[in-house]
């Protein structure tokens, strides 16, 4: 089942002579349960692609579909609702809300997804699953980087989204913690079948991914599924 797809998607910034192409005519599809990495050097268009996949932005040309629905005509509010219900985000700098505890950060995701039932129970159960059962009440500044990213993973997963977007999730972590985080994400991907798409230039992350899409200058350079070894 296709979770998200880009169709002839282009994104430009600026105008006329100052126009910059961030993405050129990209076609990409992500299937349910994929653990895919978008890779490439700085300026290759990883972040722009991730913004389009995560419905944070719309393409200048082409269109994006999420679970078969074209999002082009959606208002900002409807897009916000769509993100709240179907897409989870994990950021390089964790981006937890500093005034909320670990538990409240996770609960907030359920709140924004419009969930009304058992929010607290579901949030604490997931925090336990990611190994933070004894840190529910801690604020982000009382947690290490690795612990914060675990909270962020729980926050992204708790609403059981169709898709999780992870923007360089290990970039701010040491390699040991980074590996542990990747193992956790992989584990969740397998256990819950959630689709993960992340951007990275960390070889370790690519090692974990079962699909690596290489971008360069806004275009797809290669798209490799590892389990089959097939170059798409």
């Amino acid at each position: 089942m296709t979770i998200c797809s880009l169709h002839n998607a282009s994104k430009t910034y600026g105008r006329d002579a100052a126009m910059v192409w961030a993405l050129r005519n990209i076609n990409l599809e992500f299937q349910a349960g994929e653990f895919a990495a978008l890779s490439g050097p700085s300026g290759s268009g990883k972040t722009t692609a991730l913004n389009l996949i995560g419905c944070l932005d719309k393409p200048t040309d082409g269109w994006v579909e999420v679970e078969g629905t074209n999002i082009s005509g959606m208002s900002k509010s409807r897009l916000a609702d769509l993100r709240g219900a179907k897409i989870g985000f994990i950021f390089q700098s964790f981006n937890l809300v500093p005034v909320l505890s670990a538990l409240e950060n996770v609960e907030l995701a359920l709140q924004l997804a419009g969930e009304t039932k058992n929010r607290r129970e579901r949030a604490s159960a997931l925090l336990m699953e990611v190994g933070l059962g004894d840190m529910l009440k801690r604020r982000p500044n009382q947690l290490s980087g690795g612990q914060q990213q675990r909270v962020a993973i729980a926050r992204a997963l708790v609403k059981e989204p169709a898709l999780i977007i992870a923007d360089e999730p290990t970039a701010n972590l040491d390699s040991k913690t980074g590996r542990a985080i990747l193992e956790l994400m992989r584990e969740m991907n397998k256990a819950k079948g959630t689709t993960f798409v992340f951007s990275t230039h960390d070889p370790m992350v690519m090692e974990f991914a079962n699909r690596v899409v290489q971008l360069r200058d806004g275009e797809i350079e290669s798209d490799v599924r590892k389990n089959s070894g097939e170059d798409l």
Binding site: N51, E104, L108
Partner: protein, 429 residues
């Protein structure tokens, strides 16, 4: 609930900044309440001093009496006939008569122009309450007088001393009496406390050779009813023929001559009597409004700045919330709530502190004697004790005003905060 919790915790992130913004709101609300309390108190004070000692709620008096009253001899006095009593009885809860007249007070070698107040010993307290009166010695009987602290001071009089009063009778002849001082008073109205001399109506009648009076004063249940009652009184007395015309300063036994109301005699209320003073108060009120406007303007700018700084500092957080599905409206609400909370904290403290101060002085008045004495304010009818005017709706209103200003000031920076594109905001440094 989440929004409220987040907004509350957010304003505690930069405690100093929040405290400073709240302090400005606090001062704005405080000044508003305290200013209103003092100006209201001052107005009330002016009204009460004038009403309770001289003006009453309603008075029937010779037209333009304030000017005519300084004339010597007194003109336009009218008799209190049974017919007149019949007309006015039942108009209000209480009425009394008074006669004001100017006289020379002599205590060798000094002479002083004084204002005589002839009063009805039985009826007077019904219209002019004496709770603010301070009397050393006794109230005057049929053959004595009571001088004000001002007169006593100038003549160095003590209770038991004598004073000569010299004035013209209604017929224009000189008359004089040497009278013992039964008491020295202050009634809280400098117009009477500086140059007043109280004596019973009968005794004043002997001096001016007439039992006619200059004032027939009424007290109604509440002074707000005065205008209505006065209007009724005017209608009722329109056809009354018992007032004397001007120049008719005949002696006791001359019959009253037919005349009309409003030509020679007028019905005035405390509002007329205090109009000029209240206009002065209104100017004060406007100055206060201007000051408060500026202060709350500054408070608004302070809050706008606080929210703007918060919005820029928390750009990434806003982006994250938007990425997670928070609608712009909710982000806006969160920032507006933050502004509102600062307003609530500052406004509440300002209201409490202001109200406490004003309440305190509304119960324990400020003694203004040192401020009034020797400052040429002797003729300003203001009580030496200033009671501030405390009212709960005013305090609550000022508090709400502070909160509204805070929320209004937060709108622009909050809108700015929601305008950032989430894709850029999530990665903002």
């Amino acid at each position: 609930m989440f929004l409220i919790r987040m907004a509350l915790r957010n304003i505690l992130r930069h405690k100093l900044r929040t405290i400073l913004s709240a302090l400005v709101v606090l001062s704005g609300v405080w000044v508003l309440i305290v200013g209103q309390g003092f100006i209201g108190g001052l107005s009330e004070n002016v009204i009460r001093a004038s009403v309770d000692s001289m003006a009453g709620h309603i008075s029937i008096r010779p037209t333009e009496y304030p000017d005519a009253g300084f004339k010597h001899p007194v003109e336009g006095l009218f008799p209190v006939t049974p017919e007149l009593v019949e007309e006015i009885d039942g108009v209000s809860t209480a009425w009394t008569t008074r006669t004001y007249a100017m006289a020379d007070a002599i205590s060798h070698p000094n002479t002083l122009r004084v204002r005589l107040v002839g009063f009805d010993p039985e009826r007077d307290p019904l219209v002019f309450p004496r709770n603010g009166w301070k009397v050393v010695g006794e109230l005057p009987d049929e053959n004595s007088l009571m001088v004000s602290t001002g007169v006593a001071k100038l003549f160095e009089l003590e209770v038991g001393d004598v004073l000569v009063l010299k004035l013209r009778t209604v017929a224009g002849e000189f008359n004089a009496l040497m009278l013992p001082v039964s008491g020295i008073y202050s009634v809280g109205n400098p117009a009477l406390d500086s140059m007043g001399v109280f004596l019973q109506q009968g005794l004043l009648g002997k001096l001016i050779m007439s039992d006619r009076v200059s004032h027939l004063s009424f007290r109604v249940r509440h002074r707000d009813q005065a205008e209505k009652v006065a209007a009724g009184l005017r209608t009722k007395l329109k056809t009354f023929a018992g007032f004397a015309p001007p120049g008719e300063n005949a002696r006791e036994n001359s019959p009253p001559v037919e005349t009309t109301l409003d030509t020679h005699v007028e019905v005035v209320t405390w509002v007329d009597a205090t109009r000029e003073l209240l206009e002065l108060q209104q100017i004060r009120q406007k100055s206060l409004n201007f000051l408060v406007f500026i202060l709350l303007g500054i408070a608004g700018l302070g809050i706008a700045n606080t929210i703007l700084m918060a919005a820029f500092e928390r750009m990434r957080e806003i982006g994250t919330l938007r990425a997670m599905g928070m609608r712009r409206r909710k982000v806006l609400a969160m920032f507006l709530l933050e502004g509102a909370f600062i307003g609530v904290i500052g406004g509440f403290l300002g209201a409490i502190l202001g109200a406490a101060l004003i309440y305190n002085y509304s119960v324990n008045p400020i003694d203004m004697t040192p401020m009034i004495e020797g400052k040429g304010a002797e003729n300003f009818p203001i009580s030496t004790l200033l009671y501030t005017e405390f009212s709960v709706p005013m305090a609550v209103g000022s508090f709400i005003f502070g909160v509204v200003v805070s929320v209004l000031a937060s709108i622009y920076p909050s809108v700015l905060a929601t305008r950032m594109a989430p894709a850029d905001a999530v990665r903002a440094e």
